[in-house]
Symmetry: C2
DNA sequence: AACGTTATGCAACACTTGTTATGTAACTAA
DNA sequence: TTAGTTACATAACAAGTGTTGCATAACGTT
């Protein structure tokens, strides 16, 4: 019989995630990981054929954690805003994990930002339809518009460029939310883009 | 007298930019660059002490090119929309240069997305104030809001995730533009966030 | 035409990366 | 207690990186 294993697969992935959190996935090397675990690099390759395989597991972990954040946001009284707040929390608390999911996806990988949007739309659709009395198409468009705004904030956050406080972001977000909602409900043809842009523009200019 | 130089500094930077365009700045190595120029790696280090120094020049080039794009957008009849369109063009035509400016800024570097926003605000402010009869503060806020939307599109574009056509983006952008402009002009207190959110929300819910 | 200067090519150095060959020793079944 | 299996440490390999020492040859000046 062989000697007892010193490390389970899970411990290795956890340590790999920890390194990624601290220094980004590019700093996740075999030697760095081995050093963190206090072993040689050999055991890593008994569980994973290549480092790339291990990195895939780190991405899977990030994806799952992200999903948990979103689920948590659904519990909020206004679920679409709750989900938006969780986007921001994830970006702020796990910037490096955010990056590997949405900023530096490896070539040919599935998933990414648009897939995450679709998931959120499905989760929030019913709630938005009821709350604002919208049909499914409008609810999806409305949520997508808000998502676009939150996406720019999360990008700013993880690149270390966001100058706004939580309160400011929240305030900006609310204003987007209300102005879009008003437009979707009050401007005929706003949903499919067939509304009379010129008429509205002229009205805005003269005021 | 020494022999004639085979390469001027500028040619080296140009080749470096070309490699960055094609494969990203991480693929810009001394040997790759030398191979493209058809020389050994030695001459590179007569002009640049380190590769990092050369990369700085590539970033400077990208920044200047970006500035030219923006300047071009100012000529449009509605200059704020023209600038927005140029953001998107730059992201689509120079995704790798966009990345080094706004997605992977090296630690401790100046500039970045928020600085670019400030620059654009200054360039567009007067035009927006006149066109929509806004004060400077409102004009800046309005432009920033639109910038946030364009920023999410450019990020999607350079990460290869944007599923929208130019027309779709243009349409979405126009809708944001109009709905925000209406809100800034029609909702008292919208600029400083002191407007009565609850009243508006109730109104939207019952409709 | 000879000279001194120096840009360049060649090849090496030092370092980091992923990955692996080898020997050892830990463990359990006998 | 013995033996076989195999996880592990050690150390190496190969490939790739930035950077540099050295010899050479090209060039304008003299």
């Amino acid at each position: 019989m062989p000697p007892k294993v010193k490390f389970q697969k899970e411990e290795i992935v956890n340590a790999a995630v920890e390194i990624t959190r601290e220094k980004g996935i590019d700093a996740l090397t075999a030697r760095e990981l081995a050093s963190k675990l206090g072993v040689s690099t050999r055991p890593i390759f008994t569980y994973f054929d290549t480092m790339e395989q291990l990195k895939s597991e780190v991405r899977a972990y990030a994806k799952e954690l992200y999903r948990e954040y979103i689920q948590h946001g659904l519990k909020a009284p206004i679920s679409n805003l709750g989900v938006g707040r969780q986007y921001l929390r994830f970006a702020k608390e796990e910037p490096e994990l955010y990056k590997i999911l949405y900023l530096k996806k490896p070539d040919g990988s599935t998933g990414g930002a648009m897939e995450a949007l679709k998931l959120s739309q499905e989760l929030v659709r019913d709630s938005v339809m009821k709350k604002y009395n919208m049909d499914a198409v409008t609810a999806d468009l409305y949520f997508r518009d808000l998502w676009l705004v939150s996406y720019s904030f999360t990008t700013l956050i993880v690149t270390g460029e966001c100058p706004y406080t939580d309160e400011e972001i929240s305030s900006i977000f609310t204003r987007f939310s209300l102005s879009l909602c008003k437009a979707y409900k009050e401007i005929p043809g706003f949903t499919d883009g067939s509304f009379d842009k010129d008429a509205i523009f002229k009205e805005l200019v003269k005021k």
